[in-house]
């Protein structure tokens, strides 16, 4: 047992240096104020947070980010579920093929794909920035949703559907009472994989939204890279992280309650 623990040392070190330390630094930056000329004054303050929450512009950005991430997730479920269901009903070979085709775009750099969309969407000037960003996000994140849902449907015992028909449920009722509840875990992990990157995305809004469309990711980027205000940037990151954690906790709780009922 002792030697086993010794084997974990490299990982503990890795986590400490590359995950825990940066987190602490972000926390530290978020709770302190820049002393000017890149000096750090250790004076704890909630000023960064009050600044963020009291500024209507920032709040609007936060709200827009959550809204577009939410819409993206909902659309991914709406498009992804039927697609996943369709794929799961194909022959085993066709399923493998379809999953491969779905993952194919993932092999291409996201930046490249986004630039491609920028070229396409340039021809549609009358589209609002938000719609363009939305299209880009749904396109990019949809495969994650489909694959997660497909996996959960594919591993379901087909005999359960036969049993439901046998007990008097037609196709629609069988879907509602058997297939759908059993694929909830897939939907939940799909949500995790779509909502998280969507809410913090900054490349897609930057390239597809034009200069006027700012999401929380862009905001963080601006304060770190352009303004150089690491303290405020860290505070926004921290707020974002807390929101994400809270939303994940909420989805899992809903999932668990649904199971207990």
């Amino acid at each position: 047992m002792k030697s086993f623990f010794r084997m974990t040392y490299p990982y503990i070190l890795w986590i400490a240096v590359f995950i825990v330390a940066p987190m602490i630094m972000i926390l530290l930056y978020a709770l302190t104020k820049d002393g000017g000329n890149r000096t750090l004054i250790f004076r704890f303050t909630f000023e960064n947070f009050t600044r963020f929450f009291s500024d209507p512009t920032f709040m609007r950005v936060l709200f827009t980010s959550l809204r577009i991430a939410f819409l993206t997730t909902v659309f991914c479920i709406l498009i992804g579920y039927p697609a996943a269901l369709f794929i799961a009903n194909l022959s085993e070979r066709a399923q493998t093929m379809m999953v491969l085709l779905l993952t194919l775009p993932m092999w291409i750099n996201m930046l490249l794909k986004t630039y491609a969309w920028r070229g396409i969407l340039m021809n549609f000037d009358n589209l609002e920035s938000e719609v363009k960003v939305f299209i880009g996000m749904v396109y990019d994140f949809l495969p994650y949703m489909i694959i997660q849902i497909h996996t959960s449907i594919a591993k379901m015992d087909r005999e359960l559907l036969t049993a439901a028909y046998d007990l008097g449920a037609n196709r629609w009722k069988t879907f509602l009472k058997v297939t759908l509840p059993l694929s909830v875990p897939g939907i939940i992990s799909g949500i995790t994989l779509v909502f998280l990157p969507a809410v913090s995305s900054f490349v897609i809004p930057k390239l597809l939204g034009g200069g006027d469309y700012v999401l929380i990711g862009n905001l963080i980027e601006t304060f770190f890279v352009t303004t150089g205000d690491w303290n405020f940037g860290s505070a926004i990151s921290l707020v974002m992280a807390l929101i994400i954690i809270a939303s994940m906790w909420l989805t899992r709780k809903i999932d668990r309650n649904a199971k207990e009922d």
Partner: protein
């Protein structure tokens, strides 16, 4: 009883393979019917067609006087207990059972009443809140039965539901199922490949084979009057031998005439004769209608199961020459070499291309150096011709260490039994006392050394040699010639008895006219 279900000429094939070849079957109300057959006989397919999960290629299913070919499964008054139960993992026991009632949108109070009644019918009171994945196999089974029965179907289909349970639980569930069927009083259609299960529970057994029905009858009828050898073999242990009807009540088999009670067969008809192992009585050899020798005895708990041979098979006796090998020494190199004289069959020389390697292994030729390391034999020279006679063969190593032995080429001598179409052959052989002493499986080695083989005279297919008789002690073998007899199995009957006997005992077998069951030969498919 009223006819409830009627299968009319049901044909079904999967990917060009015909699984059901025109099945006709009637099932009455309140019957416990078992579809019995080996896997792949089409029994589950027939059940799935009735459940509506599969559509037949041809034929019609009539249910309660109405054709239900176009009725989807969820509208049929039939429920199923599936092989792997197929309980819904996201619902507890109560909700699983309530599933069908919720679909019908019954009131909560009615649902609760019915579900609780079902829980007590299957002896699972108090299990309603349990998660189905935490139940044992037997409990899951009960939930599956309750879930189906709560819908008050007119027919319950059970697709090998006891297959996954262990023996003890299985017996218990057999009794349970029978009790439940009698209590609810509806038709149960039970699919199984277990003949004992079928005999225990059914009112009616349908024996199926390769997509066809072989026999329909009560357990007693199926057991006592099997329609053919297939059914007889499938139901219980049986001895089935070829026989010929002499008159309506006399049958010839095993070279004897016997009285029997069968009036269906024409004189001269070739039939299958069945005698159940438990119908034999063991008597003194002189009192038996058949006499034989006990070949093996197995203890089965209540009784002994023994094989009694009433007619010996074909046999061939050969000579085994045990000689001490004289190793050849090569003083110059320190190598040693040895080989045995051997017999070879002139027909083998002609038909099989005998290579040097073959000769090396027949002669058991080997060479080794001072440290007993094996040396390969690199040259073999001989003057063997395909004519009976004595020849010589020389084996040698790279360093010219050589040994020469005799080769006896002989005409093959078969023993043939034309009446039973069996031939056997074996050759005399030379062997050293060491090789006999070192043998791990003497009978098998004797067969190899003597090149003993037996075959069917009609189609040349191999027949196994079951008996190797010799009267020496392998551990105490000395030089000399010994007789070895190889024999095929003769007519062997399986006999169940409580008498304590040992292999080698001579016994008489006795049985009466009622114990002889005459069956029509199954029509061979072409």
């Amino acid at each position: 009883m009223r006819k409830l279900i009627e299968f009319k000429n049901i044909v079904k094939s999967f990917d060009g393979q015909v699984v059901l070849k025109g099945v006709n079957l009637n099932i009455m109300e309140n019957e416990f019917v078992t579809l019995l057959g080996p896997s792949g006989c089409g029994k589950t397919t027939l059940l799935r067609i009735l459940g509506g999960f599969l559509e037949q290629d041809e034929g019609t299913v009539i249910f309660d006087g109405q054709c239900i070919d176009r009725v989807p499964p969820y509208k049929r008054e039939i429920n199923t207990v599936f092989q792997r139960y197929a309980l819904f993992p996201h619902m507890n026991v109560y909700e699983n059972i309530a599933f069908g009632l919720r679909i019908k949108k019954l009131g909560n109070d009615i649902i609760s009443q019915k579900v609780n009644r079902m829980l007590s019918l299957v002896n699972l009171e108090g299990y309603g809140k349990r998660n189905v994945t935490q139940l044992s196999g037997g409990q899951q089974q009960r939930v599956a039965i309750a879930r189906a029965l709560v819908n008050e179907p007119s027919v319950l289909l059970l697709d090998e539901p006891l297959g996954a349970l262990d023996l003890k639980l299985r017996k218990e569930m057999q009794r349970e199922l029978k009790r439940i069927q009698q209590e609810v009083g509806i038709t149960f259609i039970f699919v199984t490949h277990d003949q004992e299960e079928a005999l225990t529970m059914s009112d009616k057994i349908v024996v199926m084979n390769a997509g066809e029905i072989e026999q329909i009858g009560t357990p007693l009828e199926i057991y006592n009057e099997p329609a053919n050898a297939y059914v007889a073999r499938f139901i219980g242990e049986s001895n089935i031998v070829d026989g010929e009807m002499l008159t309506g009540t006399k049958v010839l088999f095993d070279d004897h005439e016997f009285d029997c009670r069968d009036y269906r067969m024409r004189p001269g008809e070739i039939v299958d004769v069945l005698i159940r192992p438990e119908d034999f009585t063991i008597v003194k050899p002189k009192d038996g209608v058949l006499k034989g020798e006990v070949k093996s005895v197995l203890f089965k708990g209540v009784h002994y199961e023994m094989m009694v041979e009433t007619r010996t098979g074909v046999s061939k006796t050969v000579k085994m020459h045990v000689v001490t090998q004289h190793d050849m020494n090569n003083a110059a190199t320190g190598e040693k070499i040895s080989a045995n004289d051997f017999y070879v069959d002139s027909e083998d020389l002609e038909n099989k291309e005998m290579t040097d390697q073959d000769f090396i292994s027949i002669a058991n030729a080997q060479a080794w150096d001072e440290e007993y390391r094996d040396i390969s034999l690199t040259h073999v020279t001989h003057n063997i011709e395909n004519r009976p006679g004595v020849y010589s063969i020389t084996f040698g190593t790279d360093k010219k260490t050589e040994i020469t032995v005799k080769v006896y080429v002989v005409h093959p001598e078969y023993v043939e039994d034309a009446r039973h179409n069996i031939g056997i052959s074996a050759l005399d052989f030379f062997i050293t006392p060491d090789e006999i002493r070192e043998s791990m499986a003497i009978s098998t080695d004797l067969k190899t050394w003597a090149s003993a083989e037996a075959w069917n005279l009609q189609d040349d297919s191999p027949v196994s040699i079951t008996d190797v008789k010799f009267d020496f002690d392998p551990a105490e073998i000395t030089e000399g010639s010994y007789d070895i007899t190889f024999a095929t199995r003769g007519r062997v009957y399986k006999v169940e008895t409580t008498a304590r006997l040992e292999a080698g005992d001579r016994v008489g077998l006795s049985f009466g006219p009622d114990d002889i069951h005459i069956m029509r030969k199954a029509v061979q498919e072409t």
